[in-house]
């Protein structure tokens, strides 16, 4: 295996090769080489130009702000709600016994299927997207919190007790850190779920946002715009997931999976 510099070089080489091939087969280099209709597979150079257009019109900013706000609100409420219910059911055994199969059933429902209902109930505005995003995040965080409370190491609880600690100390020294580790581990997935929820919600019915703009563009065969928005969503996803996995790595630095300090 070569050093990281080589790997990065080959990666860049591969990517530029692919983009070049893409450009060529969509007629961007020599018109005769075109294999695909640009209405179906947009030309990379035109995608970039369209992206500039989109940004200059001011729509990119307002669409992105809309979608990110929906995703963020969904993530926020999903995490708080999931943690709250997870803790409640983790401690309250009877309620947990009643609700567990129901939660599992709801969790196995593909989340996207509630989108039409949400649009019906809450309209084309932001609320329905925030709620869809909320639902996708909520169950992941709920199950992680719930399992986190349930799988607290009884030996550590004993250790606090023999040191003279009461239930409050058990909660602070054992339950909270142990549950947090489960929640942090689910954070990265939740971030991309939240974004998916917002965009899909916009597909189903809305009047603004990146998902809405994408659907609109596809409808009029403005394929460059579709690809431009995919590119934006990819970049946003990479940044957000990257940030949350760095956060996770920092918060879980005590865990055996990470050997660095």
């Amino acid at each position: 295996m070569k050093g990281p510099g080589f790997i990065a070089f080959y990666r860049l080489l591969l990517l530029s090769g692919l983009v070049l091939l893409w450009e060529a087969t969509t007629g961007g280099i020599v018109a005769d080489w075109q294999l695909f209709e640009t209405a179906l597979l947009a030309r990379p150079s035109l995608i970039v130009l369209d992206l500039v257009d989109y940004a200059q019109s001011g729509l990119l900013f307002s669409d992105a702000r809309q979608t990110l706000l929906e995703a963020f609100l969904g993530l926020f409420f999903g995490v708080t709600g999931g943690v709250a219910l997870g803790l409640l059911l983790g401690y309250w055994k009877t309620a947990a016994a009643v609700l567990e199969p129901i939660m599992i059933a709801l969790n196995s429902l593909p989340r996207i299927t509630v989108a039409p209902l949400l649009i019906l109930w809450f309209g084309l505005g932001m609320t329905s997207k925030v709620l869809l995003s909320f639902f996708t995040v909520f169950f992941v965080i709920f199950f992680n919190t719930y399992i986190g409370v349930r799988s607290v190491d009884p030996e550590l609880v004993k250790a606090v007790k023999v040191m003279g600690g009461g239930p409050r100390q058990v909660a602070r020294m054992v339950v909270v850190p142990s549950v947090c580790s489960w929640i942090f581990a689910a954070l990265r997935t939740s971030v991309s779920f939240a974004l998916t929820g917002a965009v899909v919600g916009e597909f189903v019915g809305s009047s603004s946002g990146l998902g809405y703009r994408m659907l609109l563009a596809a409808g009029v065969l403005h394929t460059e715009r579709v690809f431009a928005i995919m590119l934006i969503l990819m970049v946003v996803g990479v940044v957000l997931v990257g940030l949350s996995s760095r956060l996770e790595r920092y918060l879980l630095r005590w865990s055996p999976g990470f050997t660095g300090m």
């Binding site: 550590l156 606090v160 023999v162 003279g164 630095r253």
Partner: protein
């Protein structure tokens, strides 16, 4: 603190009788070892003494008194007790220092005081430089050292130890036994040490209580003649140690062998 165990019997609700009429005492400042074949109930006795067994799980009769008062009537018992587990029960999310400070936090010590006390003990067992490491980053021997000083930190009057060195390699074990002897000699805490290893028991304790196989009863109690402080490395090489060990071994081997037969030929 002095401990008196009188007529202690214990049966789990599932039906297993673990202890039958166990009687012994531990004098204040004494180092006593409980020895017996695995599954004989010695750890259960220790757990009962630490009130770690709930009445829902087991039927317990007899009394355990500390300085003459039943442990169930002493609200301060949990505060004056230390317990070192077989497996190190360090908090994985806390550094070495934060682990050592845990008991002090429970007792509401100020941060500066906690730091000072923890550092003292970390230096004592040669862990200086590892204060900010997490448990998974240090060796098993080091982790068990941290467990030990986490218990010592809040200065409990009685320390119960459940095979604390059982998972360590022979050499590390001797080193830690030596450290424990030093600590005990300097502080004269009351220590009750459970082990299945006869050699370990007579290396450490002033008195050894031998348990029979389940249901655990006391087979015999004997004084260990070697003067303290002892050096485990030196002691293990001595003729006196070998003779004493052999004498005791004859008393217990029957039980240990019976244990082995049970495993070999299940009825």
């Amino acid at each position: 603190m002095r401990i008196d165990v009188e007529g202690l019997s214990l049966r789990f609700r599932k039906g297993v009788e673990v202890l039958r009429d166990v009687n012994f005492d531990v004098r204040s400042g004494e180092f006593v070892a409980l020895v017996g074949p695995s599954g004989c109930g010695k750890s259960t006795a220790l757990n009962a003494m630490a009130t770690l067994i709930s009445r829902e799980d087991a039927e317990i009769t007899g009394t355990i008194r500390v300085d003459g008062v039943d442990i169930n009537d002493r609200s301060d018992w949990n505060q004056s007790l230390g317990y070192v587990f077989q497996r190190d029960t360090l908090f994985p999310w806390r550094t070495v220092r934060q682990n050592v400070e845990a008991g002090l936090e429970i007792r509401g010590w100020k941060k500066v005081e906690r730091h000072r006390r923890a550092q003292e003990l970390i230096d004592l067992v040669g862990l200086a430089g590892f204060e900010d490491y997490f448990p998974h980053q240090i060796s098993g021997g080091m982790r068990q050292r941290v467990s030990l000083i986490r218990t010592l930190a809040y200065d409990p009057q009685v320390i119960l130890m459940d095979e604390p060195f059982g998972a360590l390699d022979a050499q590390t074990r001797l080193i830690l036994q030596g450290e424990l002897i030093k600590i005990w000699s300097a502080s004269r805490k009351t220590i009750l040490f459970v082990t299945h290893d006869l050699a370990e028991a007579i290396t450490l304790a002033e008195r050894v209580i031998l348990f029979s196989k389940r249901p655990g009863r006391i087979k015999s109690i004997c004084e260990v003649p070697f003067p303290h402080p002892r050096d485990p490395f030196e002691l293990h090489g001595s003729k006196e140690f070998a003779e004493f060990h052999a004498g005791l071994w004859r008393t217990v081997s029957e039980d240990f062998r019976a244990d082995a037969r049970e495993v070999a030929v299940p009825s």
